[in-house]
Symmetry: C2
Subunit: 119 residues, 2 copies
């Protein structure tokens, strides 16, 4: 995935964050294809607000994706999406060496943009 | 920072997560020194549970650090720590081009470890 120039802009809290911290096994072209498909699909989900992603490009390195949703129901619906479920199975079967998922309700948020701060 | 071999192991929810998504301006040796000092300092804070970190090694690339705490009070205490406050000022003055902070209460969490799954 490409580096982003700034973190995703979000509405005021409360909203939900899904932290996905994962270590990949090895480079697999199927992974990249599925990842692109999942990013398209999640963006179509009702209640999806955006995501931030960092690292994880190489095998053995930790990558973190944080996806933001309007409410807990939107997260459950995405978790249970049939195509996403298939991807989850492949993730466990081969793509990830380990991962942790944290589903959290965002209570407070702050943002800093140099452009705006110095304008 | 070095790549980790797996995401941080945490107790059962509820606990808190602080998502820090940031884009750095340019390489500054003072930043690395301060980062190391902050990591030492935060680990000494009552209620600190651990952290995950990915990306952000180069200027312009998004980095994400997620720090986990026992409760909201531990986060406030860390935010107000005098040495951390000085670091926050330097962050705004020069190290970061932009950042977003999300303070969230983790309600559910899952973990997958290939070693344990296949054992």
């Amino acid at each position: 995935m490409t580096a982003k120039s700034s973190p995703t802009v979000l509405p005021e809290p409360p909203y939900y964050a899904v932290v996905f911290a994962a270590v990949r096994t090895e480079t697999d072209p199927d992974y990249d294809t599925t990842l692109m498909r999942m990013l398209t699909l999640v963006a179509e989900q009702p209640g999806f607000l955006g995501f931030d992603n960092a690292g994880g490009g190489s095998s053995g390195a930790l990558g973190i994706t944080v996806a933001y949703f309007q409410d807990a129901g939107a997260i459950t619906a995405w978790r249970d999406h049939p195509e996403h479920k298939v991807a989850q199975q492949s993730g466990k079967a081969s793509w990830f060496d380990s991962y942790a998922i944290h589903i959290a309700r965002v209570e407070r948020a702050y943002r800093f943009d140099r452009d705006e701060a110095t304008r």
